[in-house]
């Protein structure tokens, strides 16, 4: 029978199907961080049980960590306590722990792929909704709650009803300055933040085939922002080239065996999807959001829509604009900004820093802008130095911080002050997400860079055109 990529991976991991209930799904690899795990470990302790497969479990500290002076003790006592709890739990259960200062430390969804923990055909979970990132490799990867973290720690399984299948096709070539982030924000703007709820999405077509692994990770990362549990892309040579030789990927004859299997991971030609959507690459512009959810985005040269044209609750739309202190019909280009955040599991990889540097090179950070540039991991940080990107950034007046989730969710000190505007490469522009009262404009690293050097919302194509004539 014809199967989708999603079906192939899901079905091969079902330990038991419960009639009129969920599937018991086996989890190959479990990523753990400090915020959503302590109560789960406490649950194990209360039941008097140990982690069933510590070798399938990996722990890192990222959500709650400072991005400066990581060699010093963490100042906030609550954060310090949570980090300590993770370290103790990891040690007590023999789980590899890559804490602050460890060379493999970084954002959980950056270090998984970097170290070869993420492989095609695997089931991967983590107590974090952006676990969908790992779907870029043709894995089924999704975020879970703490009760489920406890299930996976204790039994390596969770109980999930099988989601429906959706395929999103985008063919053609992307326009200038349109990045994977723009592709994702475009899709979310078309579907809304609940348009894919209940589905697992496969991304297909030229645009994704031609995308780098970093780009695919950005797209899959944002699947949750359209409500989907996860997104995936069939593995191909780009995927295999990326993972080969990484620490946890199979070696020697194990690699050959794995490759045989991985090459079967694609949707069969006549496989049926519950829903299928198609867009043209040429429709997509560099994107920016103007409201308080990731679905409230548009091409950067457009004006904020009028409430009467909105499909959905007008009151909620108006409440959102009120929070942003924006008006219907206004242009986004030219709006003043105060902060720029480059980083997060969405856009904290080397390609994102390359893109940012391509715009700020030879320019200067605008005086009215505070910029936080936070690599996704120490390995990304290392690449930024090695490739000479750090020099470009420093010459332009920027400072590079140490890795972590940082201002994406503002659990640490990296909080955007109330009322201030931040152009952010992260994933959520919810009210207060980046600090109480903070106002977030989600965008690509190129748009963020253009804002950082001009001090206002700027179409990056303008700066790139200048270069073309230079």
């Amino acid at each position: 029978m014809s199967k989708t990529l999603f079906d192939k991976v899901w079905d091969s991991h079902v330990v038991q199907h419960i009639e009129n209930g969920p599937d018991v799904l086996f989890i190959d690899r479990h990523l753990v961080h400090e915020v959503t795990s302590p109560v789960a470990f406490l649950g194990l302790k209360n039941r008097g049980i140990k982690v069933l497969y510590p070798e399938r479990t990996f722990a890192t500290a990222d959500h709650n960590t400072p991005t400066r002076n990581q060699h010093l003790p963490v100042q906030d006592p609550l954060s310090a306590n949570q980090l300590k709890a993770l370290e103790e739990n990891a040690n007590a259960h023999n789980i590899p722990y890559w804490g602050l200062g460890h060379k493999k430390n970084g954002i959980v969804h950056v270090i998984g792929p970097e170290n070869g923990i993420t492989v095609p055909g695997a089931t991967i979970v983590c107590g974090d909704s952006h676990t969908s990132t790992h779907g870029a490799f043709g894995a089924i990867a999704f975020g879970i709650g703490t009760s489920e973290v406890e299930m996976v720690l204790s039994t390596q399984c969770i109980m999930q009803p099988k989601p429906k299948r959706m395929r999103i096709n985008i063919n053609g070539s992307l326009n200038k300055a349109v990045t994977p982030k723009d592709v994702a924000l475009f899709i979310i703007s078309q579907l809304s933040t609940s348009g894919a709820t209940g589905y697992f999405v496969e991304y297909a077509g030229d645009v994704f085939k031609n995308m780098s692994m970093e780009g695919r990770m950005t797209v899959c990362n944002l699947s949750i922002e359209m409500g989907a549990r996860g997104g995936m892309i069939a593995p191909d040579e780009t995927t295999f080239d990326y993972i080969q030789g990484r620490e946890y990927t199979p070696k020697g004859s194990d690699w050959d065996t794995a490759m045989e299997y991985w090459k079967t991971l694609y949707s069969d030609r006549d496989a049926v999807f519950d829903k299928e959507l198609t867009f043209e690459a040429g429709e997509i512009e560099p994107m920016i959001t103007f409201g308080t959810n990731p679905g409230m985005g548009m091409g950067i040269s457009n004006n904020i829509p009028m409430a009467e044209t909105i499909d959905g609750a007008v009151a909620t739309f108006k409440k959102s604009l009120e929070y942003m202190d924006y008006n219907e019909g206004e242009a986004m280009v030219g709006k003043p900004i105060d902060f720029v955040f480059l980083g997060s599991c969405t856009n904290g990889r080397i390609e994102d820093f390359r893109a940012f540097a391509s715009i700020v090179k030879g320019r200067k950070k605008a005086d009215n802008v505070t910029a936080w540039l936070v690599p996704g991991s120490h390995k990304v940080e290392e690449a930024i130095r090695e490739e000479g990107i750090l020099d470009i950034l420093e010459e332009a007046g920027f400072e590079l911080r140490e890795p972590g989730c940082s201002a994406c969710l503002a659990m640490n000190d990296d909080k955007i002050p109330a009322g201030k505007y931040a152009v952010s490469t992260s994933n959520r522009n919810f009210e207060g997400r980046q600090g109480p009262g903070a106002r977030t404009l989600l965008a690509s690293p190129l748009v963020a860079a253009a804002a950082a050097v001009t001090g206002k919302v700027t179409d990056p194509r303008e700066l790139m055109q200048e270069e073309a004539f230079a």
Partner: protein, 198 residues
Amino acid sequence: MAYDKFNILKSTAVPMPIENVDTDQIIPARFLKATERKGFGDNLFRDWRYNSDGTPKEHFVLNNPIYSGKILVGGKNFGSGSSREHAAWAVYDYGFRCVVSSFFADIFRGNCLNIGVLPVQVSPEFLDKIFTAIEADPNTELEVNLPEQKITILATGESEPFEINGYKKQNMLNGFDDIDYLLNIKKGIEEFAESTPL
């Protein structure tokens, strides 16, 4: 952790007719630093509920004494965003046992079911009827009947059926949790694991 049993809940309800209420609103990230599951109700809807100096925001529904009860009624796409179970814990800890909406985000719905808060999805029309009934009389009671999978506006007698899978329904009725189930089939899981290389 096994949780409270849920059978029939009759209660007044707190109306929140806002769409896309995300889990960052339900509990902001800066309140996720605990290592134990307690006290999250104090920070439920923190930034909608309190000013930055800690004084209550007068117009927010949880600060309005005319509304109370064990049922929270929210707009479409309730619980979107972050997977933090802390959001469900905060809802529970505040005293809610049921959330009603016309549409729930996936992970939030699952988290609620896993801790004994019943998510009840109704049609947009029925949701409007509930909001209208509460607006007309804040003491309006709703009855959520899990065995019959039916929600009723007691003042008008209007009701609507709701869906829940049979497995989760039994868990909610009996206060069972998934880990008990999984630990019972551990042998099968271990056999499965042996055939699944890392």
